[in-house]
């Protein structure tokens, strides 16, 4: 029943793009995003973002088909971006605007493609360390993140259980009648999880 959720959008590999440290990848992405938004009329920055995205995808070891599929996946967004702008702007301006947004999306997708979820979460935990003084506990944040990841399959299981019970009663389980029991089961699961954590010495 449970469709396959939680398959990370990451593709394992050992390319130079994969091996680049996570903070460096974020820095490059942020710098480009900033440059793109500050110098909106500069076609060279847009070209640089696209070049980096395409070269990065090819260097990541992913097949060229995968890149083409990603581009094809952007078709609705391109349509959505293009149509309203063509009414007010010239063709060239519209093309530049669309290229800027899609280039940044491709580049962000490249970072996700080449970085494991654990590596990003590790980087987040390390980045949170300076916030200790403000009362943020990085270990608690990590604990909460891993609990969330583990709760998704559990809650999907609750959902399947509820639907099965409804079907057994011959009830047509619409989304509205499913959410109330799902909410209660989810909150009960939180209580059990908190008790189990306490039993393991988490205070």
């Amino acid at each position: 029943m449970a469709s396959t959720p939680l398959i990370p959008l990451h593709r394992p590999g050992d390319s130079p793009v994969h091996r680049m440290p996570v903070p460096a990848k974020f820095a490059v992405l942020l710098a480009l995003a900033l440059a793109l938004s500050l110098r909106r009329e500069d076609p060279w920055i847009v070209a640089a973002a696209w070049a980096l995205a395409v070269v990065g995808h090819l260097a990541s070891g992913a097949p060229t088909v995968a890149l083409l599929r990603r581009l094809w996946g952007l078709r609705w967004l391109v349509l959505l971006l293009t149509v309203p702008q063509l009414i007010f702007l010239t063709g060239a301006e519209t093309a530049l605007n669309v290229a800027r947004v899609t280039g940044l999306i491709l580049l962000a997708g490249l970072l996700t493609l080449t970085t494991s979820t654990e590596a990003v979460l590790d980087a987040v935990e390390r980045a949170l360390h300076p916030l200790r003084r403000l009362g943020v506990d990085p270990e608690r944040v990590s604990l909460a993140l891993s609990l969330t990841i583990r709760s998704v399959p559990t809650i999907l299981g609750f959902h399947a259980e509820i639907r099965q019970a409804q079907r057994a009663r011959g009830a047509r389980g619409g989304p509205w009648t499913t959410i109330m029991p799902l909410l209660v089961m989810t909150l009960r699961h939180a209580e059990r999880t908190a008790e189990a954590l306490t039993a393991r010495g988490v205070r």
Binding site: L29, I105, S151, P153, L183
Partner: protein, 220 residues
Amino acid sequence: MPSTAPQTPTTPAASGAPAPQALRPGTARDDGGVSRSVRGIARMAVFAALVAVLGQPFAVPVIAGVPITLQTLGVMLAGAVLGPWRGAGAMVLLHLLVAAGLPLLSQGSGGLAVYAGPTAGYALGWIPGALVVGAIVQAGWPLRLWRTAAGTVLGGVAVIHACGIPVMAWQLGLSLPQAAVSSAAFVPGDLAKAVAAVLLTHTLARAYPTPFEHARRRRG
């Protein structure tokens, strides 16, 4: 592995201390020796997961050919049930995992590309949205219907659209009024979700008031 979370129903019998019977909100420990902080973390984590589940394709009802995501209903419920801080905290957790590359947003989208797209403002608006919902809905105990309605509409609809419209305008090259008009198409659906959130919140508050700690601490 359908359920990896430990399911041990623990009682503090081993420590020799009798388990406190009465639930006393306002004390650092409610019952079973579970600290408020641990309970809060568990609730934020499961609620973040619940919002992720509400976005998965099978949980998305299709009305007149248009898929309606229930994720914003989850956002309203997070604020209304967990209160402002934990509700917003649950949304931060969800966003950290999405940014880390897990496909937890509607229809399995995720990764950093979400934040470069035109709907980034709506998604990020869930954080202040849940905060505002929680602050208004849980301003006092028992919950009041008018307050719950005002909170879910203000936080769950107005705040999220207010965050989403400028980003969409910027990304799509629209002016703010133009973006607001195209955003307005989603308002009827969002209001329907707000009605559902109000009914669910009040049913839950009567049947299972334990999670409404924030409100119950205000007026015992």
